[in-house]
Amino acid sequence: MKKTPLYDIHVKEGGKIVPFAGYLLPVQYPTGIRTEHEAVRTHCGLFDVSHMGEVRFSGPGALATINHLITNDYSKMKIGKCRYGIMCNEQGGCIDDLIVYKFADDDYFVVINADNHDKDIAHMQANLLPNTQFEDLSSSTAQLALQGPLAQTIIEKLTDPQTLPQGYYSFCPHVLVGGIECLVSSTGYTGEKGFELYCANEHVTKLWQLFREAGTEEGLIPCGLGARDTLRLEAAMPLYGHEMDEQTTPLEAGLSFGVKLNKDEFIGRTALLSKGNPRVTRVGLVATGRGILREHQNLYIADELIGHTTSGTFAPHLKQSIAMAKVDIAHAAVGTKAEADVRGRRLAVRIVELPFYRHD
């Protein structure tokens, strides 16, 4: 089991350590998931996400390789922007979802899921186009997420505001934060405004401490994987292994915004085209009866099985149970009433619009 460079800090902060994606990480701190979740919605939370993987494609063939590997279109992307995409297999199933950062026309930084790191690297290396250099930076790169409405106020105490990214899904590659060189992007996995910061492993402990001190007044608290999951679910952000996997196409996972079928070519395109319009899609559910929705619960209208949940929880900010589900498109309309099988008991649910939560 691997540890991030912040492992000792998590133990010192009282984090409840669990194995996740091959790493020992805090699922929560003594404050608890509810408090951590609410801190991000109303103040600010600090997450160690150093387990995430990072790779770099450079050289004259880099853009062609990115466009070959990933479903989105990166041809007209501007330098300093981030863009979501999916890496498909030949059958159109999802190998991973990821974010591409454009450094230059011939230089891209890509953030991947920790759990998929090894298979992603193998797939990328096997499918490099000519004149592309590929580098795996995962083991030397640490990452923090500073998320919440007060994230901007807090980070400005440690850096020149002029050097920060302006606008959602943009980044600056060399920002000095408390004297530490970081790549700072205006991105996140919580549905709040905030930043993700990448730095060398050896500086991340210092960076964590700087944020902890700088954010005291603003109510910043450390947040674990538990709150990360409830926050992303309220914001209806997909999680690999839940909303998508190698047997699910990105179109079936409701991710068509990240799939550019009009692009000349990418791995999986032919399969996606031949499959035609998907017969299932991703929807949001709220529990209208008493009980909590979880993943892998079957959904019924009377006796007809219409799909199953892919993620479910009690949403701490909305104070109700919510879930995302993969359902037959014939029964996917907002307002549709169904029932979830919760360990043999039927729980009434209703299909609602996504996201469940959107910040003002």
């Binding site: 929560q28 998931i33 538990g226 008493r290 009980g291 909590i292 009690f314 701490p316 149970s321 360990r343």
Partner: protein, 127 residues
């Protein structure tokens, strides 16, 4: 360190039991509520339902996960704590004050731990 009450008896699966005449009151220990985290839903049986020693009689949902609660006795549910339907967080706030069910007509009892043995059991689980 989780609180353990001297006057109560316990199970290895972290329920507490209080015997008053023929009535057995069952709840969840401080250790259990702390490991579960923020409790958001308690699904209890109904009055008159049978419970069986060693079998689950309720499920407790925290933000993180769902867990079964096991009955230490075989008998019939005499009362359920209705307050928990609207305020499941009471189990976090006051685990020994927030009982789950009361059981009567008890015909079988599991082997129970006294406070000292239960404390040791918790210490072992934490290690």
């Amino acid at each position: 360190m989780a609180e353990v009450k001297e006057e109560l008896e316990y199970t290895k699966s972290h329920e507490w039991i209080e015997k008053n005449g023929d009535i057995y009151t069952i709840g969840l220990t401080d250790f259990a509520q702390d490991s579960l985290g923020d409790i958001v839903f308690v699904n209890l049986p109904e009055e008159g339902d049978d419970v069986t020693a060693g079998e689950p009689f309720a499920d407790i949902e925290s933000v993180k996960a769902v867990s079964d609660v096991f009955s230490p006795v075989t008998g019939i549910v005499a009362a359920v704590n209705e307050e928990l339907a609207d305020s499941p967080e009471l189990v976090n706030e006051d685990p020994y004050g927030s009982w789950l069910i009361k059981v009567e007509e008890v015909s079988d009892i599991e082997e129970l731990l006294d406070a000292k043995a239960y404390e040791e059991h918790c210490a072992n689980e934490e290690a």
